[in-house]
Symmetry: C2
Subunit: 219 residues, 2 copies
DNA sequence: ACAAAAGTGTTGCTGTTACACCCATGG
DNA sequence: CCATGGGTGTAACAGCAACACTTTTGT
């Protein structure tokens, strides 16, 4: 192979959501070789007249039909053997979305949500990328670094829902009563006045995050 | 300009150290056009047979004559007008070093330390890059996220030294006595048994970080 | 009325904050 | 012996951890 100062780049997008208490990622099924039938991260090659951010947002729109999201840059992956077709450098972005929205909710033939700890067969080095970036995202969720916990709950939620997600990410159980009081006593959440009743048991109060108190707050 | 899927990349290295209580960065003076006489970040073009990490380490070695450092990837900068010579994508890395070591201590004609809040005239978009990345580094120092505070003090220090640096990064004063006890009472530091005496006043106890307690510790 | 899920109360501990005071060195 | 800077003490308070109990729903 000829050594050169020109490189091919791709933007990789990791779309995350909190769903049923689990951290999930939205993947795409590949229907051409290489890795035909494998799942992969949505991606796009970067041309010389587009910024990485623009490129990532385009991928987001095409995958979700949504315009807005919390998006930020993550790591670059530059191993020489990432792609069997030749050297390509991948720059990863993280987008956090509200799974409740739009047609993303239903999995389709070629787009689906997966728990980050139960990934399907993945093409290229995407399993490695997902594990690396997910570890970073989880770490931020746990302490609300970069307001990451806030980003996962843009709309109403019950405290048990929040706790379920938080416990799964933390991989440790937390006392239900202490968790509840932490958020209520410190005014980190606002009571919307509504309740949810799904199944048996007392209905949960619907809260939303108190943005002023949560922004920058260390959990 | 012709649209293409080939891009030129450069690795940019931000070498930081805690010195005299200040967060400092090591820069290089440019002696050819463009930006001749301006200061810039050390950088290297990326060829098609090198990883970003290898490239960053090469820059580090050539700037410091040291082999080892705490290094991690930071953001990628992909604005189209970053460089007057044409589109080039910059991938930034952060290295943290012990300024006391080697010949780095003395500033030379073409390499020097600068406080991140008192930067010289910088070429390209490097001022923007330094500000962006420095904000990220400071934020991590403040909470010891990714063990960032630990990384800045690999060898012995006095608590007043540590506090001086921490206060400058935080941009708020902290009670001297509480700061002291926080670290001592929680066994975050280990007494080396040595003292420093510089100038008047009672000599300070030399501590080093207790790695076991500090790793992962949120300050 | 019973199970299931959500919400409230209490107590002790740990760490933070806001203070005043004592100790070791150089001039 | 006094200025300078470093180290120790203490009391009030906030947040966390570990507990038992009560309330509201569905069946």
């Amino acid at each position: 192979m000829e050594k050169s100062y020109y490189n091919v780049l791709e933007t990789l997008l990791l779309i995350y959501a909190a769903d049923e208490g689990k951290l999930k990622i939205y993947l795409k099924k590949k229907n051409e070789e290489p890795y035909k039938g494998y799942w992969t991260l949505p991606s796009a090659p970067l041309d010389s007249e587009t910024t990485l951010e623009e490129n990532a947002l385009e991928i987001y729109k095409s995958m979700t039909n949504l315009e807005e999201t919390t998006m930020f840059q993550s790591k670059a992956f530059s191993n020489l053997d990432r792609d069997p077709n030749g050297r390509i450098i991948g720059i990863s972005f993280v987008a956090i979305t509200d799974k409740g929205l739009t047609d993303m909710k239903q999995n389709s033939e070629d787009k689906a949500w997966f728990e980050v700890d139960e990934l399907p067969k993945l093409g290229f080095d995407h399993e490695n990328i997902i594990e690396t970036v997910s570890a970073e995202v989880k770490k931020k969720v746990i302490s609300n670094y970069d307001d990451m916990l806030l980003a996962f709950f843009p709309s109403d939620f019950t405290l048990p829902e929040l706790q379920n997600f938080y416990e799964n990410v933390l991989e440790k159980p937390i006392d239900r009563r202490n968790f509840h009081k932490k958020f209520v006593n410190q005014d980190l959440v606002i009571d919307t006045g509504f309740k949810t009743s799904k199944g048996s048991g007392r209905p949960g109060t619907l809260y939303r995050f108190n943005q002023d108190k949560m922004k920058g707050k260390r959990i």
